[in-house]
Amino acid sequence: FICEGVSLGEAVREQHGKDESVHRCRPPDVVVFPRCVEEVSALAKVCHKHRLPIIPFGTGTGLEGGVGAVKGGVCFSLRNMEQVLDLHPEDFDVTVEPGVTRKALNAYLRDTGLWFPVDPGADASLCGMAATSASGTNAVRYGTMRENVMNLEVVLADGSIVHTAGKGRRPRKTSAGYNLTNLFVGSEGTLGIITKTTLRLYGIPEAMVSAVCSFPSVQAAVDSTVQTLQAGVPIARIEFLDDVMIDACNRFSSLSYPVTPTLFLEFHGSEQSLQEQVKTAEDITQSNGGSDFQWARDTETRNRLWKARHDAWYAALALRPGCKAYSTDVCVPLSRLPQIIVETKEDLIENRLTGPIAGHVGDGNFHCLMVVDPNNPEEMHRVHLFTERLARISLVFLEDCRHPSSRSLLQG
């Protein structure tokens, strides 16, 4: 039985059973391609009646195995719903369907002077980003998805269609009612299928300038971060890369940054405000032993710099061809960041693990990209123990610890 919106083909099912993580493919039993929310709702009703698991699928660019159909079921591939609806430039909001990716939206918006700044590495579906509460390098100034989703249209497991902030509503703030929107943001596809998301937009900054600063130690780099934020500099991006990560990036992206703990910085604002921000940041980094800033002012150079950062995942993988990568994701109070990164590096060296570190230090968040040989059970076991230790230390630091790779290791 062949029809356009349904596929039983093995290749199509396999394609929809994995994302960009190391987790093995768990194909669904069937993939459906609804074209509108009414079709999503009707299909959900069918699944509900027959007790079939539902797996929403956006772009498959997740890093945490979220689309694996561990118990089989029906994968709802939402790529045919790809409209940008309802753009209100004067109100700084737009509503999009699941097939619209963040780069596609920003290309659409380019004539309006607006942009959507949340930027996880991949060109992900915006509704998928809502479901996973994506963050990115711009979060330190513009926030994550939690702060920037104003309304959602969601199809629940029984087919009912819900508007979390009211149908067609897009208030910039509200004190009324339960915050259902943020219940669904970050629910990882477990509470419903997101079919529309209303997003908060920002003005494209008048000027942007990026810089790279090398430090003699992790402590110096992270101290500079903390002090820059304390000085009230509205820094747009502040990313930490340890020496292993910088080395990997140098090799992968043909760069030649010094192989020491490094900060990648970006400043947004008017020309005058940039000068102030940069002066303050430079004073701080120099007082911590940081090198002179290596500047990237024009668009091409800046894009190359951030592409190198966004390619960190692939750069880490390239360190050991044939291996797979797990990403840990840990967030601690800023003041504890130097300590946890230093301890993590010591742990990695002691246990002979490859784990370049890259992080959104402005949020107290860092990723350890564990590169491991999946066919070496002893190494996999060492990685497992390491991630458990990491999760425990961060909990001790009494802050949010989202550690999906360890969780899924335990489950799977």
């Binding site: 290749a11 199509v12 394609q15 772009t59 498959g60 790529r79 790809e82 097939g99 596609a104 290309a107 659409y108 380019r110 004539d111 309006t112 002077g113 607006l114 942009w115 003005g203 494209i204 900054p205 008048e206 024009d298 668009t299 091409e300 894009n303």
Partner: protein
């Protein structure tokens, strides 16, 4: 030397839009479809603004030929840094028949009127893919042309140009005044920022011109018979003894690439 640069900007259907053919096959659907500045024209505007920022030229004038909506395209150019706009009003049947020959006559006339030192255009428009306007304009003015430019530098009253050609890169040196058409790798266009867009809306920097019908618009018209969408893809067939590799790409639109090797 006036130090004035004319930049042609064309309003086209946005590159990300899925094009649909009208049911009566007379053209493509344009009503309610998102339009924006032709991407190669954006690159041309960026290059002109960069030259002005380097103080190598004095004024950037954005020109667009088309109906009322072309003014939006000119405003985008102003928001990117152009100083002035000229909207050449062409609408209705004249707009349907507007092609490179007509546009190049208009640009040639404007270049003389504005005493332009340089004309910067995109190498082609993404709707008709003609790649003719720059060349025709240069011929009408008897000016040198540097097409498919991936690098431009001004040296006194000459221009050093690197062109992307089939064999690789060609380095040429041409006199000014000249016509240059921009290729993809010339630069990365800046985004128009909100304050600049607001400015361009409030300041009325755009002049309206009416083209001369007889000399510009009515010559060399090319009749259009029919517009037809490409056929839907058919499935592949399995040829015994041959190797077939069937790949579905994951970029949102399924494509099938079938490679077959002859059996030995």
């Amino acid at each position: 030397m006036s130090g004035r640069v004319l930049v042609g900007v064309k309003r086209v259907i946005d590159y990300a839009v899925k094009i649909r053919v009208k049911p009566d096959n007379t053209g493509v659907v344009t009503d309610g479809v998102k339009h924006s500045m032709n991407p190669f024209c954006e690159i041309a505007v960026e290059e002109a603004v960069k030259l002005k920022e380097k103080k190598l030229i004095k004024e950037v004038v954005a020109v667009s030929c088309g109906p009322q909506q072309s003014q939006e395209t000119i405003r985008t150019a102003l928001a990117m840094g152009a100083d002035r706009g000229i909207h050449v009003d062409v609408s209705g049947k004249d707009y349907e028949n507007l092609g490179p020959l007509q546009v190049s006559k208009i640009l040639a006339a404007l270049a003389k009127q504005e005493d332009a030192q340089l004309i910067l255009l995109g190498k082609q428009a993404i709707d008709d893919d003609c790649n003719q306007t720059g060349q025709m304009t240069a011929a009408l003015l008897d000016w040198p042309q540097g097409t498919f430019a991936s690098e431009v530098s001004l040296e006194g009253d000459k221009i050093n140009l690197v062109r992307e050609i089939d064999g690789g890169l060609e380095h040429i040196k041409i006199n000014t005044p000249a016509v240059i058409t921009a290729d993809l790798r010339l630069n990365t266009p800046r985004y128009a920022t909100l304050p600049n867009i607001m400015d361009s809306l409030m300041n009325n920097e755009t002049e309206l011109h009416k083209p001369n019908h007889r000399t510009s618009l009515c010559v060399g018209l090319i009749p259009l018979f029919e517009t037809v969408a490409p056929e839907d893809m058919q499935g592949g067939t399995d040829r015994s003894g041959a190797m077939l590799r069937h790949t579905v790409l994951q970029s949102g639109k399924p494509k099938r690439i079938i490679l077959s090797c002859l059996c030995i």
